[in-house]
C-alpha cells in the first residue's frame, strides 16, 4: 500500500516537473520566435539557425509559416503571430502552441519580411529538422530531398542525423546525401575521394548528375577519380538497363506464352487453325469481370480471392465453349485445315459480336486484387507485382500442361492420337472424344490466360484480336507440336521485341520482329524445335 503510494507520488512529481520543463521550453521557443519579428533581414539566418538548433518539432510549422509569409508581428508588444485568414480583421494564432489568440485589425500588425535568402535558409533548416523527426518515413523523405537538391550548408545536419540514425534504408539514403553534399562543400580532397567512391558504388542518378557537374570545377587530382566513378556508374546503369529490358521482355514473353499456350495445343498438337482462340481469351477475361461484379455487389470481402474464383470458372466456361465448337463445327472439317481456319474465323466474329451485344462495346473495368498491385525495387529494377505474378502464373500453367501431356493417361491418349490416329483407334482409344477433350483443354487454357490478361489489358470485345497474330507467330516460330518450343519462342520473341524497342521504337520494333519471323520461317519452315521425322506431303 505504502509502496504504491510512493510510486504514485514519484509519478506525480515527474509529471509536474515534466510539465514545468515543457512549459519552460515553450517559453524559450516563444522568445526565440518573437525575436524573428525584431530581426533585420541580414540577421534572419542566425535567428532561423537558432530555432532549428532547438530540434523541437514545434518549430516546423513556425518555419513553414515564415517561408509562406504568414508570420506577423503585433506592433503594440512585439509578439509574433501566425495569421490564418486575410480580411479587415486578421485572425491570430499563437505559432508555438497553435492556440487561438483572438483577432486584430490589419493596421495593428506588421508582416515579417522574407526574401529568397530567408526562404532558402528556411528550407534547409526544415530539411535538417525533419531529419530528426520521429517518423522514419518523414526522415526518409527529408533525406531523399537532400539527396535530390544537395546544399552544402546542410552537411553538418546530415552528419548529426547520420550519427543517430538506426533505420538502414534511411541510413543508406543519408550516406549518399552526405557524399553528394560533401562534394559541393569545401572539405578536404581525401574526404571527397571517399565520397566519390561511395557514389560510384551507390545507385543513384543524382550521384551521376553531381559528379558531372563537379567534374568541371574539381582539382586535377580529383578529376581522374570523378571520371572513373562516372564510368562505373554509367556501366552499371547500362547493365541495369539491359536487365530492365530482359525483365520487360520476360514480362511480354509471359503474356505471349499465356496467349499462345492454348494454341500450342489446338494448333500444335491437333493441327487445327483456331482463329477463335483470341476470343477464348476474351471470354476468360469477361468471366473474370462477371465474377468481380458479383463479388463487388454481394461479397466485397472476397475481392482478393476474385481471381482464384475466376480461374476454374473461366476454364470451365471456355472449355465448354470449345467443346461445343469442336463437336458442332470442327469435327466435320478434320483434314481440311484451311477450311477450319475460315469456319473458326466465322465463330470468332460471332463470339465477338455476341459479347459486344451483351456487355457493350466499351472497356469493362477489372480490378487488381491488393496482392497484385504495387511494386518493389530489386537492384536498379522496379518490379511490379502484377507482372511478376503473370510470369509465375504463365510458367505454372506451362508446367501443369506439360505434366498433363507427359504423365497422365489422358495426355498419353492425346499424344497417341496425334502421332498415329488409326493405330490409336485400333488400340481402343475413342479418338473423337480425345479430339473433343483436347480442343476443350486448349480452349480452357486460353480462358485462364484471359483471367491473367484481364489484369494488364483492356477488357473489351476486341481483346482477343490483339493476341491472335502474335500467338500464331509464337507457335510457328517455336515449332508446331512442341510445348518447349512455344516456351522458348514466347520468351525469345518477347525479349527480342523489348531490345529492339529502344533503337527502333515500339512499332518499328514489332515490324522488324515480324519480318524476322517471316525470314526465319524460310530458313526453318517447321520452326525452332521441329518434330523429327519425315515431312509428309500436306
Amino acid at each position: 500500500m505504502y509502496r504504491t503510494l510512493q510510486i504514485l507520488f514519484v509519478a506525480l512529481c515527474l509529471l509536474i516537473s515534466g510539465h514545468v520543463v515543457g512549459l519552460r521550453a515553450a517559453e524559450d521557443l516563444a522568445a526565440l520566435v518573437d525575436q524573428l519579428g525584431a530581426a533585420k533581414l541580414s540577421e534572419m539566418d542566425d535567428r532561423i539557425a537558432a530555432l532549428a538548433k532547438t530540434g523541437d518539432p514545434k518549430v516546423i510549422p513556425v518555419l513553414e509559416a515564415l517561408g509562406e509569409g504568414e508570420l506577423y508581428q503585433r506592433k503594440s508588444d512585439g509578439k509574433v503571430f501566425l495569421v490564418k485568414s486575410g480580411g479587415a480583421d486578421l485572425e491570430l494564432v499563437d505559432p508555438v502552441t497553435g492556440a487561438d489568440a483572438g483577432a486584430a485589425p490589419k493596421a495593428a500588425l506588421q508582416k515579417i519580411k522574407v526574401n529568397n535568402a530567408v526562404r532558402r535558409a528556411v528550407r534547409s533548416a526544415l530539411g535538417g529538422l525533419t531529419l530528426f523527426s520521429d517518423d522514419a518515413g518523414a526522415r526518409l523523405k527529408a533525406a531523399q530531398s537532400m539527396l535530390q537538391a544537395p546544399n552544402a550548408d546542410a552537411l553538418d545536419a546530415i552528419e548529426t542525423a547520420l550519427a543517430s540514425e538506426r533505420d538502414t534504408t534511411v541510413r543508406q539514403v543519408l550516406d549518399e546525401a552526405r557524399a553528394v553534399t560533401l562534394l559541393l562543400s569545401d572539405r578536404s580532397d581525401d574526404e571527397k575521394r571517399r565520397a566519390i567512391t561511395l557514389l560510384a558504388e551507390g545507385s543513384g542518378r543524382t550521384g551521376l548528375a553531381v559528379l558531372t557537374s563537379t567534374l568541371a570545377s574539381a582539382d586535377a587530382s580529383l578529376k581522374a577519380d570523378i571520371e572513373a566513378a562516372i564510368d562505373r556508374i554509367e556501366q552499371r546503369e547500362a547493365f541495369w538497363n539491359a536487365g530492365q529490358n530482359v525483365w520487360y521482355g520476360m514480362s511480354l514473353g509471359s503474356v505471349l506464352l499465356l496467349a499462345a499456350i492454348g494454341l500450342a495445343i489446338t494448333f500444335g498438337v491437333m493441327g487445327i487453325i483456331n482463329m477463335a482462340h483470341g476470343e477464348m481469351v476474351m471470354l476468360g477475361a469477361y468471366t473474370t469481370f462477371l465474377v468481380q461484379e458479383v463479388i463487388r455487389s454481394s461479397y466485397p470481402g472476397l475481392f482478393d480471392w476474385s481471381l482464384a474464383i475466376a480461374l476454374p470458372l473461366a476454364f470451365l466456361v471456355t472449355g465448354f465453349v470449345g467443346l461445343v465448337i469442336e463437336r458442332g463445327v470442327i469435327r466435320f472439317l478434320y483434314g481440311r485445315p484451311l477450311e477450319t481456319l475460315l469456319a473458326t474465323w466465322g465463330i470468332s466474329l460471332i463470339l465477338q459480336q455476341a459479347v459486344r451485344s451483351i456487355f457493350g462495346p466499351t472497356n469493362r473495368e477489372v480490378g487488381n486484387p491488393s496482392w497484385m498491385s504495387g511494386a518493389f525495387e530489386f537492384g536498379g529494377l522496379t518490379i511490379t507485382w502484377n507482372r511478376l505474378w503473370i510470369i509465375v502464373f504463365a510458367l505454372a500453367v506451362f508446367a501443369a500442361l506439360l505434366f498433363l501431356l507427359k504423365k497422365t493417361s489422358m495426355g498419353l491418349r492425346m499424344r497417341a492420337v496425334t502421332q498415329n490416329r488409326r493405330m490409336a483407334s485400333s488400340m481402343g482409344i475413342r479418338t473423337p472424344w480425345v479430339d473433343a477433350l483436347t480442343f476443350a483443354l486448349g480452349s480452357g487454357i486460353a480462358g485462364i490466360a484471359g483471367v491473367a490478361l484481364s489484369q494488364i489489358d483492356n477488357v473489351s470485345p476486341n481483346l482477343g484480336q490483339g493476341y491472335i497474330i502474335d500467338s500464331f507467330m509464337v507457335v510457328v516460330f517455336g515449332g508446331v507440336g512442341n510445348l518447349w518450343g512455344t516456351l522458348v519462342g514466347a520468351f525469345s520473341l518477347g525479349i527480342l521485341n523489348k531490345f529492339l524497342e529502344p533503337y527502333a521504337g515500339a512499332v518499328l520494333g514489332k515490324i522488324l520482329v515480324l519480318v524476322l519471323i517471316i525470314l526465319f520461317i524460310q530458313k526453318k519452315p517447321r520452326g525452332l524445335f521441329a518434330l523429327k521425322g519425315r515431312a509428309v506431303d500436306a
Partner: protein, 386 residues
Amino acid sequence: MILSFLMKSLDRSIVLVVAILLGLAVLVPALNLLTSPDHPLHVPTYLVSLFGKYLTYALLALALDLVWGFCGILSLGHAAFFALGGYAMGMYLMRQIGARGSYGNPLLPDFMVFLNWKELPWFWQGFDMFWFAALMVVLVPGLLALVFGWFAFRSRVNGVYLSIITQAMTYALLLAFFRNDMGFGGNNGLTDFKDILGFNIQADGTRASLFAASALILALCLILTSAIVRSKYGKVLVAVRDAESRTRFLGYRVEHIKLFAFTVSAMMAGIAGALYVPQVGIINPGEFEPGNSIEVVIWTAVGGRGTLIGPIVGAILVNGGKSIFTAAFPEFWLFALGGLFVLVTLFLPKGVVGTVGAYFSRRRAGRKARADEASDNLAAEPMAAE
C-alpha cells in the same frame, strides 16, 4: 488467231459473264447520265459508286481465286496487295490536288505540310504523272509478291504456314502504314481527292466512267485468268494444287509455277485497289487489316473457289448483303457474316456457283445417260424384235 485462242480459252459461262459485264459497263452509266432523276429506271450516282466498289471487290476475289482455287495457296495477305495498289493511286490523286489543299502548298500534300516536311520524299517523285502511278499500281504489289513468294516457295513454306506468314506480312504493313513518318499520311491515310486525269472526281460523269472502267477491267482480267487456267500452264497449276510433291517429281519447277500465279494475282489485286480508291474517296491503313484479307477469302468461298465466276458472284452477293444488312440491322451483320463463314465451309464447300454448276452438270449427265439408255433401248428393240 488471237480470237481463236480466246474462243478456245473461254467456255460458255465465262462468255456469258463477260457479256453481262460489258452490258453493265454501258447500261449503268447510261441509266445514270441519260435519264432524269425522277425516271423509274434512273440509277443514282451513289449507287453507281457502290456498284463500282463491288466490282473492284469482285476483281480482288478473282485474283485470290487464281491462287487459292487453282494453286491451293491460301493467301491471307491479298488485302495488302489491294491496299498497296490503292495507295499508289491515292498518291497520284494527292499530287493532283496541287495548291488546292487547305495549306495551299503546290508541291506537298497537306499532311506533309502539317508534319512540317520541307520537300517531297523520293518515293513520292513521279506520282504526278498518271502513267507512272498506273505502272506502280501493278509493279509495287507485283514486286512484293515476287520477292515474298520467291523466298516462301523456294523454301517450300506451304499450306497453313504460308497463310500465317502472309498474314504476318499484311500485319507488318498495317503497322508500318500507321506510322506518320512513313510518309503515307499515317492514321488518316490519303483523302480529299479533287481530280483524276483532269476530271472532277465528284462529278457524275467521272463516277460513271470509273464504274465502266471497273467493269471493263474486271472483264479483261476474267478473260486473262480464264486463259491462264485453261492453258497448259493452268493444268500444271491444278496439278500443283492437288499433288504438289508428285508434280515436283515429274520434273516441274513447282516454285516457279506458284510464283507466277502469286505475282499475277497480286498485280490484279493492286489494280482492284487502284480502281477502288477513286470511287470510295479514301485509302487508309485500315485496308491492311488482317480481317479484310480473310473476308476476301469468304467471298471467294461463298461464290465457289476454283470457278472464276464464283468469286465475282460471291463478292457481289456478300457485299450487297453487307450493305443491306448494315443499314437494316447493324447489330447482326457480324453474326450473319460469321454464320456465313461456318455454313459455307460446312455445307457449301464448292460455293454457290460450284454447287449450281455441279447440279447442272449432273442433270446434263443424267439426261445424257437417259438419252444413251433410250438409244440403247432403241438399238436393243430391233434386236429383240429379231
